[in-house]
Symmetry: C2
Subunit: 114 residues, 2 copies
Amino acid sequence: MLKRKAEAADRLFHALADANRRAVIERLTRGPATVSELAAHLGVTVAATVQHLQVLQDSELVRSEKNGRVRTCRIDPAGLRSAEAWLQRQRTAWEHSLDRLGAVLDDRTKESGS
Amino acid sequence: MLKRKAEAADRLFHALADANRRAVIERLTRGPATVSELAAHLGVTVAATVQHLQVLQDSELVRSEKNGRVRTCRIDPAGLRSAEAWLQRQRTAWEHSLDRLGAVLDDRTKESGS
């Protein structure tokens, strides 16, 4: 279970570690787009765009649906939330440990002053 | 400039896309640790730990300093903040675009009702 969670986090951050995939996310935050529109936006082929979309869908960063011959993509909030939550947890834990260190230093200052 | 920024973001998310490197960050949020302590925590060799630390330092996720023969590592908040800021921007942009869509749908409902 923990291993599966770690693999999902590996996939998620790997999906974000590519400028074209981040550009797809940035575009989709402004509204849905078709695969052709995304390819034009990136300036790459439709085939390359489809590959990027596959990686983004596997990480729940993007979802898509097909109507006739047109596939429309939109943001899947699950991936963004999951990555943000991990980072927030780390920052909060780090800030708490700084607070504890600050309290220890305050106590020592008081002790040496008394 | 933009290209350099994109490369830095690529490096940052790539650094986070590894369970051992995330485990180093999780450990260091609780306080500084030496390279040997981190190697023991991960259950890998010191050499492998040093390689992971290099990747983390290149992305400003970890900083370290050497006192005599002992290298002590701690969290560098710059990397965590930068990754969190990018994700927050995407989520905020997406929520705004949902709000705009909601407003358009509300207007249409009112128009069809009047």
